[in-house]
Amino acid sequence: MKTLVVSALLALVGCAQASREDAARAPSAAALWLEGVAEAHAEADARAGAHAQRALEAARARPVPAGVSAADRRRVLQDLQFRLAVLALHADDPARASAEAERGLALGRDDDTYTTNLLIVQGRAVGALGQRASAAEAYAAALAIHERLLQRALEGTP
């Protein structure tokens, strides 16, 4: 009887340990979200046009898990917005490209490539719409960021 109880307890502990190990091995919600975004990018790389757009839009629509930092959230979503804006430009739809770029920039700005990419694609989009001054303004904002990044590179600061 005693042996049976010990065996049962060991089995229970074993199960508990196994489930804890499984939990540790299981990818976090943040990792799964990032994986989904990466898959969407890969699909957009492989298939152009409407298919690519749908994949990227689906990735954008996924809720961002709580474990993702605000900075990472902005970068990942801005990268998606950039690609959606480029796709719209390639589809000769500068109005949609501008809207996608604007949506990305609304997530925040920082001195990084994500922001400059969006500013550049926004410049192209509004330029194609004949809004030359707005295009120059977007390019000037991107230029100012590169100027600061250049200064940091020359100073050897990250």
């Binding site: 001054a133 120059a136 390019y139 100027e147 250049l150 100073e155």
Partner: protein, 110 residues
Amino acid sequence: MSARLGAAASASLLLACAAREPPPPQAAVPALAIDARLTELRGVEQALGASLLSTPDCPRAHEHLRALCALADAICAETREGQAAPHDARCLDARTRCASAEQRVKERCP
């Protein structure tokens, strides 16, 4: 890296001093003169340290320079299309900033 460079520089200075021939006997130097010399040497050390601590990231600098000047071109292309006076000033400003950046990169990353 900067700390290693600083240490290497100090070590080289020490080795250079050790390798030198012993100086000929001199008359006693007044304490004030020694203090002044030490201050002067610290200044040199600081200047050396500053230049060693800030090692530029030249590949990254060149990358940003290319982007900056390409954007200056894009600004000028837009202002040419728009043909409005304030935009020409923006083109001039962008070109000036590109030239200034080129100069800075040339100085730090020859």
